[in-house]
Symmetry: C2
Subunit: 476 residues, 2 copies
């Protein structure tokens, strides 16, 4: 937090309005102290915004009441889960920060229907553990899963490593209960695997970053848990060789569960943080895993992928022979973001995605951009689905460096789009990428999206200023 | 066709307008003869509607030009592929029937990116064969796949037998090019596996039944083709036992590729048509298949599922030992709709879906409704994903019987919704089910959908009168 406490503007909401809101949630769940407003004004980025008031509802009915009051007086509402987001989507530009963390019940896990019904504040990792206890499986696994909430995952359509085989959060959302900007509550989707009754509003709300509705309940599809997962680490002397190995594995006919990439700088940072004994003579590491119910088949598939790595330039492929060894490798991968954060004062984490054939070209482009802008840009991410996270390390206090950081970020976006890719694979657009939206989507689609927003939220009270270009870059 | 040719109203479009439209597509591709208007006024249902004019564009630019003309003069456009739809979605209530059958090129199949880029008129089965020739796989397999077009599959978000394991058409749509009611063309989605850049308009267009846009190109995700598929047929003396076996198999931890149900009447009708030697002493048949790359694993999974059937009441489980034997079983399944059509003059095919735990209850409900309304309602469908097709056999000339048919259909919808299910799993709402929409979705969601329609299509020229209740049942 860099905000000077003495510079915090006071709450300007009328006392009668605060009383009315307080009556909905109880005094303990409406916060106006500066420290609370600051705490609910940050997320996983370096950007800070200040809400007028923080409200923590406990039920859908409370959410609907707050929304109705806000709609009546025209005050903005920005919903947030645990605010681990990486694009600024949960930052309140003003008005109410609506924290859904108290709505954290797992309402039901049905083995018969293979669904879980949850409130938005449930932590993703807790849901995974709960369903796995009865032999089921919730595949989406954002790296933030130990802290991120399902509601936030839905708002950003979060991905993760296993999405290569299993798809993203939205692929598991069967039904949502949503509070609309009018305060009306709808249920969209249902508990059936197939459903073509009317428009797919469920998919419209997923990934809409809190701009269309507030999710108060989600029905999530579950799978049977695969009995076996095997992991190996392939070492390469050259990051482009790792990228080529990735495309070769994807052509093998096997669908790996994960192919995760970490470059040299990323490995160094993780090793400095965790001392896991990661190799110190490797330019890039791929973490490859496969899963299934038949151990022989899984073993065979992993061996085939290991062979492909060896024929495409791996200097070494180490199979994790114990669950502990696999856990150690995954701990390394999940610790990348905090580890990089220690290397320099700040980092700007990008999230571009490219078609799978363009993974080597994108890796080359990032290296060229790092050289051109003279920046340290460690590269890691979900190589198997073409979703890479170049992280630009920097110091925000250095104005000259920040000019280069912005130039490099724009160049990375342009390179991804030129390769047939997109600005964001799994983090969303939020505040930080909105000025680049048209470069990806083109003018006609850009026109349609705010029109849909205006239809659902005519007064614009839900999470204003996000996703769509406003003419003002908000990097700070 | 029951329409009396002498009763066909003449084309009332102004000659100048017809000339303008004709100039876009060439004289051979604008049809105004009565026979043509009749031929493009039917689909897979018994309902008939008459377009003023039939237009067959060859390119996206032609589609956009026609839409611009239609928007200017305010004439309706109803897009259609091969019109095998089962809910009346492609029936032109007036105006232009826009047949996309000439836009039937497979533009690209990329092995490296595992995508196919196709025009909307490509036949689903032809796409499947084309991608399988290079080791790839397009899983969605509506029973109509030998005639239905990809554009229609996208418009209705078509399903099929393999959707139990692989999901529906929409799960494979990565990007669309769409002509909007303004004539503007947008590209939504992209060639990346993950994409959270802006709202998911792609998913909004999928299943929108031609009411929001006209798809002119689709980029479809492909998978590696599984090396082995094994099929068995399980015989039951009681259809409810077959339903219970289905739920038991779904709890086994195995994800079958298909679990298809055919009841006694369905088997009889298929046998009468094809003489395949199907059993004549069985109340219900389940067609079960599993696939994968490892023959041992696939064999083992099929054996496990067969065992479950035996312990839940199957009198016999026959494994198809040759590809020919499996093909014969699948031919039986794919021939159900035409076979039932021969049993009585007409049939009303429903498409409800229920949560997987409710499959036995839904089977019981359909049997009770058939008894109550004294109708023959053969039951078949995708038991594994809870998407069942009760087909009400009838004679449309019998007014008294048709009253019972409508009562039974309404009762089937009500039973599905009461069990937590939905009106339509894969056929869409179209004309035939629109008056039941609110019973499934509730008033608030119903209000939102037409508002979105009005935002994208303010003058309502795209496929008017579909999906949303108009206060007039259109069963005829």
């Amino acid at each position: 937090m860099s905000t000077d406490p003495s510079s915090i503007p006071p709450v300007t909401l009328a006392p009668a309005l605060l009383s009315e809101l307080r009556a909905v949630v109880g005094p303990a769940n409406l916060l106006t102290e500066d420290a609370d407003r600051l705490a609910y004004g940050i997320d996983g980025t370096w950007v800070e915004r200040l809400p007028q008031v923080v409200i923590l509802p406990a039920t859908e009915a409370e959410v609907a009441k707050i929304v109705k009051i806000a709609a009546r007086v025209g005050i903005a509402i920005t919903p947030r889960g645990n605010a681990s987001g990486l694009s600024g989507g949960a930052l309140p530009r003003a008005g109410i920060a609506l924290a859904l963390t108290r709505m954290n019940r797992i309402i039901e896990i049905s083995r018969d229907d293979q669904v879980a019904v949850v409130e938005p504040g449930v932590i993703t990792g807790e849901l995974q553990r709960a369903v796995e206890r009865i032999g089921l499986f919730y595949p989406p696994d954002p790296s933030s899963l130990s802290v991120s909430a399902i509601g936030g995952n839905i708002a950003e359509n979060a991905g993760g490593a296993r999405c290569l085989k299993y798809g993203v959060t939205g692929d598991y959302v069967m039904a949502l209960r949503v509070v609309l900007p009018s305060g009306a509550v709808i249920r969209t989707g249902g508990r059936t695997v197939k459903n073509v009754t009317g428009y797919n509003l469920r998919a419209l709300f997923v990934g809409s970053e809190g701009t269309l509705g507030i999710v108060t309940q989600a029905t999530l599809r579950l799978l049977p848990k695969p009995r076996h997962t095997l992991t190996c680490a392939a070492h390469f002397m050259d990051i482009e060789a790792a990228a080529h190995a990735t495309t070769a594995m994807l052509l093998s006919g096997i669908i790996p569960t994960t192919i995760e990439l970490m470059d040299r700088t990323t490995i160094d940072c993780v090793e400095a943080l965790l001392h896991l004994g990661l190799p110190n003579d490797t330019a890039a590491l791929l973490l490859i895993s496969v899963d299934g119910n038949h151990l022989d088949a899984v073993t065979d598939d992993l061996a085939t992928l290991a062979e492909i790595c060896q024929t495409t330039g791996a200097t070494q492929v180490q199979r994790a022979d114990t669950p502990e060894e696999a856990a150690r490798l995954w701990q390394a991968r999940r610790s990348v973001a905090p580890a990089l954060a220690r290397r320099r004062p700040n980092k700007l984490g990008e999230d571009i995605a490219v078609p799978r054939s363009q993974i080597p070209a994108m890796v080359r482009a990032v290296r060229a951009i790092a050289a051109e802008y003279q920046l340290l840009i460690p590269l890691y991410g979900h190589a198997g689905d073409g979703n890479l996270h170049p992280n630009i390390l920097c110091d925000r206090r250095d104005a000259e460096e920040m000019t280069r950081v912005r130039g490099a970020a724009a160049a990375i976006f342009a390179a991804a789009v030129a390769l047939g890719g997109t600005l964001s694979g799994e983090h969303g657009i939020g505040l930080l990428k909105k000025e680049f939206l048209e470069s990806d989507l083109g003018p006609d689609q850009i026109a349609l999206m705010p029109a849909i927003k205006a239809t659902i939220d005519p007064t614009g009270i839900f999470n204003p200023g996000k996703i769509f270009p406003t003419g003002t870059a908000e990097w700070e």
